[in-house]
């Protein structure tokens, strides 16, 4: 594979880190401060975009800063998978910045400078994870992301926020310092390197017990992926302001988790080793439990954000399930779902925030008739919900389609049943909300009467993400082509089977 050396990935990471300084420096001038956020977001997106042609040519971009230890560099490597995730995350940062301005200013939130600064660092680290050259670099950015999102989660600084923040940090840092660190040490000792490589670095002839143990430690260590039983931090983190929940807990943080798992499956273990040590299908069955259980829990939640949180837990495992199938379409579906879920779920979170800004309602049971008062918001919500369910012509359909085909390729009817059953569950917990909003009469005495649509800074972003959800549902080509580059690399292996 041809390697191009370019500083671009480093710049993409650096942009928002530089923006932090500017954001902090202009804390007294909110308009200027938000200008820096916007500017950095756009520049970052353009840098990521400018790397696309090179990657689509079948090349990879590398940039090594320096060597940490023999065999371990601190450096970046852009491949199709990383580009896919970085494109999604950096684009959504632009939208979220706009939304954050609307949300934070309408609610007159405190500590907005800290908020925007932490947000920028979080994005830097998410891109750092996407472009990490090896596990070591990935680990650095992964940990920075955990720590720097803590102020965002605990933003409200009340008792709930401290509790939620504590749980967040204990789960994420706790598991990454135990299981993930152990997995990295074991990987290094077994293979002598931590680099990501097409086809993986694990080979036949290694001790199956150790390899399996390493793999299990990876799955546990990447707690951001929200695999049960290590998912509890996610619902607690919903105490955060809604834009945080939107970008971080639908895009950056949780997707960094599943992205890391996918990266490790494809580039550290490799499809050969995954098959050889029989790790793929057991993983798929293991995460199936999360898919179903989280959906069932979501049914019981009346708090809108809590329901969305459990929906996220469930949907994240789709990605892992798809990749763990180890079949071309399964992997394609899994990777596609990173983007599809991101666009749709962020729409849903934005809607939840919009409802809160306009009416201060958090409970689903109080949403009767709100659709007529907030038509844009609830229309967008409906699109997002359809995408989650997997209704054709909306984003989620594409990924589910590939996932189902992938499960058939893997010869597992049971996994296909899991996917279909979860579709029903998705419908069961999303459609009642839509029904309530549009078709039920407001309860007498509720103050839904006075509710008006949220301010444009809030409504426009969520309309954009909803529209994009539809567009990438009808024309999935852009993301599909990048995702196909990923499985292109594994093509030889499938031919051999």
């Amino acid at each position: 594979m041809e390697v191009v050396t370019s500083i671009k990935p480093f710049l993409a990471v650096l942009v928002s880190a530089v923006a932090v300084v500017l954001i902090l420096a202009s804390s007294r001038n909110p308009d200027l401060r938000e200008f820096w956020s916007f500017g950095a977001a756009i520049v970052k997106f353009l840098i990521v975009l400018s790397m696309t042609p090179v990657i689509m040519d079948g090349k990879v971009i590398e940039f090594t800063l320096f060597t940490i230890l023999p065999g371990i560099d601190f450096g970046f490597r852009v491949d199709a998978l990383g580009l896919f995730f970085a494109t999604t995350a950096s684009f959504l940062w632009i939208i979220t910045t706009a939304y954050s301005i609307g949300y934070m200013r309408s609610l007159n939130e405190h500590s907005q400078t800290r908020y925007f600064a932490c947000f920028a660092i979080a994005l830097s680290s998410a891109i750092g994870v996407a472009f990490a050259k090896n596990l070591f670099t990935l680990y650095i950015f992964y940990e920075i992301l955990s720590i720097m999102t803590y102020p965002l989660v605990a933003h409200n600084e009340d008792k709930d926020a401290w509790e939620g923040g504590k749980k967040y940090i204990v789960y994420l840092v706790g598991l990454s310092k135990t299981a993930l660190l152990a997995a990295i040490v074991m990987t290094y000792m077994i293979t002598g390197t931590l680099d990501f490589k097409e086809g993986g670095i694990f080979t036949a002839g290694m001790q199956p017990v150790l390899v399996t143990l390493t793999y299990v430690f990876f799955l546990i260590g990447f707690a951001k992926a929200g695999i049960m039983p290590f998912h509890n931090w996610l619902p607690s983190a919903m105490v955060a302001p809604t834009p945080v929940s939107g970008l971080l807990h639908a895009v950056a943080v949780v997707k960094v988790g599943v992205f890391s798992v996918v990266k490790v499956i494809l580039y550290t273990f490799g499809l050969d080793a995954m098959g050889l040590f029989n790790l793929g299908i057991p993983t798929a069955f293991f995460v199936s439990f999360t898919i179903l259980a989280a959906s069932i829990i979501a049914l019981t939640k009346d708090d809108l954000k809590a329901r969305l949180a459990y929906s996220t837990v469930s949907q994240l495992s789709y990605v892992i399930l798809g990749v763990a199938l180890l079949t071309p379409d399964g992997i394609l579906g899994g990777i596609m779902h990173i983007a599809n879920h991101a666009f749709s779920k962020i729409t849903l979170f934005f809607c939840a925030g919009s409802i809160y800004v306009a009416s201060h309602i958090k409970k689903i049971s109080r949403l009767n008739g709100i659709g007529r008062k907030m038509p844009f918001t609830m229309a967008a919500f409906t699109i997002g919900a359809f995408s989650m369910i997997g209704v054709p012509a909306v984003a989620g359909f594409t990924s589910k389609w590939f996932l189902v085909i992938g499960s058939l390729q893997a010869g597992s009817i049971a996994l296909m049943v899991v996917l279909l059953a979860s579709t029903l569950l998705n419908a069961a917990y999303f459609l009642p909300i839509v029904f309530r909003a549009f078709f039920k009469e407001p309860e007498p005495g509720s103050h839904t009467e006075q509710v008006r649509e949220a301010p444009p800074f809030v409504v426009v972003p969520l309309t954009i993400t909803a529209v994009i959800s539809v567009i990438i549902g009808i024309w999935p080509d852009y993301f599909l082509e990048i995702a196909e580059m990923v499985i292109h690399e594994g093509a030889d292996i499938w031919k051999a089977h």
């Binding site: 320096f66 060597t67 940490i68 230890l69 601190f74 070591f136 680990y139 650095i140 940990e143 920075i144 720590i147 605990a154 600084e157 401290w162 504590k166 940090i169 204990v170 840092v173 706790g174 310092k177 135990t178 660190l181 152990a182 040490v185 074991m186 290094y188 000792m189």
Partner: protein, 505 residues
């Protein structure tokens, strides 16, 4: 003798005695302002010389460099014999760095008897660097003992309320250790036919029973200094009562003397016994790591918390050293250096906040992020370094030790990781209690953020936190050859039975 000649041939002597020279001159000064600047100037000059030493150091050999040797007490074959290898040069440098930061840390904190305090600091500096440079066992012992006195005074005169108790406890523990070392030293002297020459003593072969006996003597002496479980109880007392500079010296340099002793004496001179006792020492280290961590978790006093965290961190060091593989020993040495940087920085942070609030109880804080944001940023970074956050020095050290432990015996990983997670718990919890929760200090006091002097001191530490964190190769290169040589000294040595020794005679 010209200046260049002095610089080229007597660099170690200059580095050792420059602070003492400064101390002598201080005797004739009265103005406190002048005294402070004078001390700072000498410490900075000394630091610059240690920097030159590191740059002049040739890291492609394990041999002793900058050697100076003159007869001293010829009747007993005692020489004034100095030299450094890759291991000691790193700690000479660390001592140089810590020296001037200690002066900055005491700038306003020490209000009474400034002159005497600064003299104590300077004498301490001479003794500490002397310990790392000495290649004559007797000379080593002299420097080792000289260290006791200024340290005793620093704790006993300028310490907190319970200072006398702590100072005496410190003195007795350390003295007990050095007496055992003295016995061991004399035995070695006679066994080797009357020599205190350390490189010569390393080349000798001793029968196993003697090695075991000497190992235990040295072990207790050094284990007290480290301090290893169960000899650690003097440490929290000494730290809590010592003024900030005292704590920094203790954590930054004195604790390293113990592990340095293992590296310089126990391993190369007593290789068979070192290998034989490796397992029990590792068990003690694991106890220290986990028990020390839990003790830290239970502390309400910020300084005590960091003191107990030292016990845990030094457990990592001793464990790494006694693994006797490259990753383990290099990780151990690097972690000694890291602990010197990070823990000193944390004690500095404690000192700063104590100076402002006159309390060290964590329950009284909670406003740092609001009232003193820059302080909060520094404390945050040092806390992360202490818990081994990737990208900081602590991570590299721990990582190497983990690699070494995995290589030796996979299950060690489990215990180490428990230690690491407890470490993350007490550091993050400490940080939370210092930084978050309250919007006002008690009694509505105005609390000032860090000033330039304090920033300079903390940035000096910060540089090394990140330097080691992102580019540890610079530091590992220095010790590489010396460690390889050390491992060959230990593992190359075959077990000599007493019969074989007799046959050789």
């Amino acid at each position: 003798m010209s200046w260049t000649e002095l610089y080229n041939h007597h660099l170690l002597s200059i580095i050792i005695f420059l602070p003492l020279l400064g101390a002598v001159a201080l005797l004739f000064m009265k103005n406190e302002r002048l005294i402070r600047w004078w001390t700072l100037a000498f410490m900075v000059a000394d630091f610059m010389l240690t920097t030159c030493l590191v740059f002049k150091f040739d890291s492609t050999t394990h041999r002793m460099q900058f050697v100076e040797r003159y007869g001293w007490i010829e009747r007993f074959n005692i020489d004034y014999y100095l030299g450094v290898d890759g291991i000691s040069v790193l700690f000479v440098f660390l001592t140089g760095l810590v020296g001037w930061i200690c002066v900055l840390a005491s700038w306003t904190a020490i209000e009474k008897r400034v002159k005497e305090f600064m003299i104590a600091l300077l004498v301490m500096q001479t003794a500490m660097i002397g310990v790392f440079c000495a290649l004559d066992f007797f000379l080593f012992y002299v420097f080792w003992e000289i260290m006791l006195i200024p340290m005793y005074l620093i704790i006993g005169v300028w310490g907190g309320a319970n200072r006398i108790y702590s100072a005496v406890k410190f003195f007795l523990y350390t003295l007990a250790g050095s007496i055992l070392m003295l016995v061991g030293m004399i035995v070695l002297y006679f066994k080797a036919g009357g020599s205190f020459d350390i490189p010569y003593l390393m080349e000798q072969k001793y029968e196993f029973t003697l090695q075991a006996f000497l190992f235990i003597l040295f072990f207790v002496a050094f284990a007290i200094k480290v301090p290893m479980f169960p000899f650690h109880t003097w440490l929290p007392d000494a730290h809590v009562e010592a003024p900030t500079a005292g704590s920094i010296i203790l954590a930054g340099v004195l604790l390293k003397m113990g592990t340095y002793g293992f590296l310089r004496f126990s391993f190369p001179m007593l290789p068979d016994a070192s290998l034989f006792f490796a397992k029990p020492v590792i068990v003690l280290s694991i106890i220290a790591i986990i028990y020390g961590g839990f003790l830290a978790l239970a502390q309400e006093d910020m300084k005590k918390l960091i003191a107990y965290s030292s016990v845990s961190h030094m457990g990592f060091v001793t464990l790494g050293l006694f693994l006797f593989n490259k990753n383990g020993i290099e990780g151990g040495i690097l972690q000694m250096f890291n602990h010197g940087i990070t823990t000193s920085a944390l004690f500095l942070c404690v000192g700063l906040i104590y100076e402002r609030t006159r309390t060290r109880l964590l329950g009284h804080y909670g406003w740092a992020a609001k009232l003193v944001p820059w302080y909060a940023v520094f404390l945050f970074i040092f806390s992360l370094a202490s818990l081994g956050f990737p990208g900081t020095n602590g991570f590299i050290g721990e990582f190497l030790i983990l690699l070494g432990a995995y290589e030796e015996y996979k299950l060690y990983l489990v215990f180490l990781i428990i230690g690491i997670i407890v470490g993350a718990a007490y550091m993050l919890w400490m940080y939370q209690r210092v930084a978050f929760g309250k919007h006002h200090a008690e009694g509505g006091h105005e609390i000032k953020d860090v000033n330039l002097r304090e920033v300079v001191a903390m940035v000096a530490f910060l540089v090394f936190v990140l330097w080691v964190g992102f580019h540890p190769v610079d530091f590992l290169n220095i010790v590489d050859d010396s460690v390889a040589h050390l491992i060959s000294q230990v593992k190359g040595g075959e077990l000599l039975t007493e019969a074989a020794v007799e046959a050789a005679h």
